[in-house]
Amino acid sequence: MSLKLAAGLPSLEPYALQQRWTLPRSLSPGEWAAMFSDYLAGLARLCAEAGGQASSDAAGRNRAAPHVVIGHIKLLALFDGGEYLRVSMVSPRHGATVTGSTPSGLSEMPVTLNVLVYGLPAERLAGLTAAAAAAVAGHWGAAVETVPLPHHHHHHERTEHADQP
């Protein structure tokens, strides 16, 4: 799916994937958050570089309209008991935002990643995502497996908790 919003705006081709990260030892909640923050920061940097803009733009903005605009890169992991880890990245200039936390003692984790970047085709985003994952996995000694996406059969789907109205 490609969204062209208006004349003059770069197109948006969303890219999503699910991955399973496996570590040789269990990580603390802080380590998981740090690893995934590094992952998204690396991906944001690669996207910015692919668009030809310096990720360390001292002025903090793009005076010349960039070819690539990072919309939102976000990662979510869900756990039993209502726990979750959400990591969000909107610019290579700023660090990732982390909300929630992982349970203790985990050495593997399935995650969902949404990459919403204007100006880069999904195929290119897939390559950059793989490169960013490989770099972080190498640093942490992790193995990363891509999991096939579930197929949505319905355009409109209700998901509610049993005790909701």
Binding site: M1, A16, L78, T97, T112, P150, H154, H156, P165
Partner: protein
């Protein structure tokens, strides 16, 4: 049934605000439903809201302002006819043009909506850049807002907050403007205004 539309560019902090509003609605004894439209093959925000036991309705495979306006209307009518909710919170995708979402509402055939309010969420870390490269979309959102929220106030410098405020006020100087910290408590007057 009140309708609250939460507008804002991708990554501006809409979901964080909605989660806070959901907690506030619960605390006030209000029944809230969320209609979430995410771009992408997998919705992350709706998964998160489901994990938190919120009443979530998802609109998939398109943008609420383009191809999913009919789905939005039919979902509102279902909520009106079959569920006794006090407030429906709609999160259009961060790429939605608010004007287009509004064009759908006249087709709603349920009981008259008691109120329709827009809150626009703005990211002070990127607002100057976004107003340069995506000006029509970002400015339309600011203009539309009945209430303006500058998010991530704790992540921005004082200069960034001041600039974001100035840029926002240059487009819309009538709506109340709040600066909120990530995950911080919502001011009571903001809650009262958004959750009547």
């Amino acid at each position: 049934m009140h309708l609250l539309l939460v507008n804002g560019f991708l990554g501006s902090g809409k979901t964080t605000l909605i989660l806070s509003l959901a907690r506030a609605a619960q605390a006030r004894g209000r029944k809230a439903a969320m209609i979430i439209n995410e771009i992408g093959e997998i919705g992350i925000d709706n998964q998160l809201m489901r994990q938190l036991d919120l009443n979530v309705w998802e609109l998939f495979n398109g943008c609420i302002c383009c191809t999913l306006t009919a789905d939005l209307v039919s979902t509102l009518q279902t909520l009106d006819a079959e569920y006794d909710v006090d407030v429906v919170v709609v999160e259009p995708s961060g790429a939605a043009d608010p004007k287009n979402v509004l064009t759908a509402l006249p087709y709603y055939r349920g009981r008259p909506l008691e109120s329709v309010r827009w809150v626009t969420v703005l990211d002070p870390l990127r607002l100057p850049m976004l107003l340069e490269v995506l000006e029509p979309l970002i400015a339309a959102g600011i203009r539309q807002g009945d209430c303006l929220v500058i998010s991530k106030a704790d992540l921005a410098t004082a200069e960034e907050l001041a600039e974001a405020t100035t840029l926002t006020r240059a487009v819309n100087d009538r709506a109340p403007l709040y600066c909120l910290m990530l995950g911080g408590e919502l001011p009571p007057d903001l809650v009262a205004g958004l959750l009547p």
